[in-house]
């Protein structure tokens, strides 16, 4: 679980270690990455929204 989160965050950032990428492709389940990806994308939107509200506030 934590590894999946780290991989998704690495994908958000755009940089991933080759070693970890190989491991993800060999052992990971696609469904887990998609689910965590959607959740973290939602979290990102909430954070950006909160920052914007604070700035406007």
């Amino acid at each position: 679980m934590w590894d999946v989160i780290k991989s998704v965050l690495a994908a958000f950032f755009g940089v991933q270690q080759d070693q970890r990428r190989r491991k993800d492709f060999e052992q990971g389940k696609p469904g887990a990455f998609i689910l965590i990806g959607i959740l973290l994308a939602f979290l990102l939107v909430v954070i950006v929204f909160a920052v914007a509200l604070m700035a406007a506030g």
Binding site: F13, G14, V15, Q17, D18, A55
Partner: protein
């Protein structure tokens, strides 16, 4: 890293020594409001950040190309991926962008805060003139370009403010917050005055808000900056900023003139005075499409001179000017011309260029038609 700082310091020093003045024509104006100065400062800060980045990146690149050239026996490194380097070159631009976004957002926020204004002015774009309504003051101006046609045709020498001069500038007091409400009666225009750092789209059916507070009295010029048809280049914006007392006097004078104009509707007008006035209205409002001698630009803009259908049907002629022609380029002028102006221009068109009908249209009749 120390070299980078030294370079940045050098560039900052240079920028102080040789400011890229807008007077050279190469830069945007500093302007005459706090917002315009903020915008200018942002522009310069971001410009110098870009210069430093450009110098550093290209400096390293060209130095490496030269220092490690193959003829000196340099061998290319053959590593694949380097997470630390990749993280660093992703994080640095991110931090730079955030650092630029903070002051930019603060300025934008300020630009959008049109609350607590001292005056409200409604700006309406028309093809091809600007209308200014001083809300709550009952004063309306129509601002038409005043550059003579001969200068545009090139038969006369071009003046100092060629295409940037109007008959009626927007008059505003200095040191007052002016809320500008921008909209359009026909197509999308955009009201732009660089010295005020105000550039707002005028969209039919929408009202866009912006504001300004001018620091110095003066005349500030701008243009329509959204392609709006044939005379898009011929609807400049001119703002005349003056001291409060002067502005008050001007506004009082305008109110009187508006009252006198309204009174003019009731009296009986003669043919000659209507034709005289109509000729002026025609030149500023109608001639851009129907041409100076009424010859038109068929088929889009029909000729008025020698137009038998026009001469035969007075009611239809008035109807076309008052209500426009749906589905054509002919606009309705009931909102943009006074009843006196409409009566005058119709009378003029029926008694000019060989159209000798002798018809006289009374402003009172037009008034009855517009507001029965």
């Amino acid at each position: 890293m120390r070299k980078g700082f030294a370079l940045a310091a050098l560039l900052a020093g240079l920028s102080g020594q040789f400011p890229i003045s807008h007077a050279t024509g190469w830069n945007m104006p500093v302007g005459v409001s706090q917002v315009s100065r903020d915008v200018y400062d942002l522009h310069m800060i971001i410009f110098w950040i870009c210069v430093v980045i450009g110098v550093v990146v290209f400096g390293v690149m060209f130095y490496s190309l030269f220092r490690y050239r193959r003829s000196k026996g340099a061998k290319a490194a053959e590593f694949h991926e380097h997470t630390t380097v990749e993280v660093v070159w992703t994080a640095i631009p991110f931090l730079i962008l955030v650092a630029m976004a903070i002051p930019a957002t603060a300025t934008l926020k300020n630009m959008y805060d049109a609350s607590e204004a001292d005056y409200d002015v409604m700006i309406t774009g028309h093809q091809w003139r600007w209308q200014y309504d001083y809300m709550g003051e009952d004063v309306t101006l129509f601002s038409n370009m005043s550059t003579p046609k001969a200068q545009i045709a090139g038969t006369e020498e071009k003046g100092e403010h060629y295409l940037l001069e109007v008959d009626e500038p927007l008059v505003l007091p200095v040191d007052r917050k002016i809320r500008l409400l921008t909209t359009s009666a026909d197509v999308i225009h955009s009201w732009w005055v660089p010295d005020l750092a105000v550039k707002k789209d005028a969209i039919p059916g929408f009202v866009n808000e912006s504001w300004t507070r001018i620091d110095e009295p003066g005349i500030y010029r701008g243009q329509c900056t959204e392609l709006c048809g044939k005379d898009h280049g011929f609807m400049p914006v001119v703002v005349h900023a003056m001291e409060q007392e002067q502005f008050d006097a001007w506004l009082a004078e305008r109110k009187q003139a508006a009252a006198a104009e309204a009174g003019g509707v009731d009296r009986e007008w003669g043919l000659e005075e209507l034709v005289e006035r109509g000729e002026k209205v025609y030149a500023t409002v109608c001639a851009s499409c129907h041409q100076a001698e009424g010859q038109g630009l068929p088929p889009t803009f029909p000729a008025l001179a020698g137009n038998q259908a026009l001469m035969d049907d007075l009611d239809r002629h008035i109807d076309v000017v008052v209500n426009g022609v749906s589905g054509s380029a002919m606009a309705s002028f009931s909102g943009t011309l006074s009843p006196v102006d409409i009566a005058a221009v119709v009378t003029f068109e029926r008694n000019a260029w060989g159209n000798e009908t002798g018809d006289v249209v009374q402003p009172a009749d037009i008034q009855a038609l517009i507001a029965p």
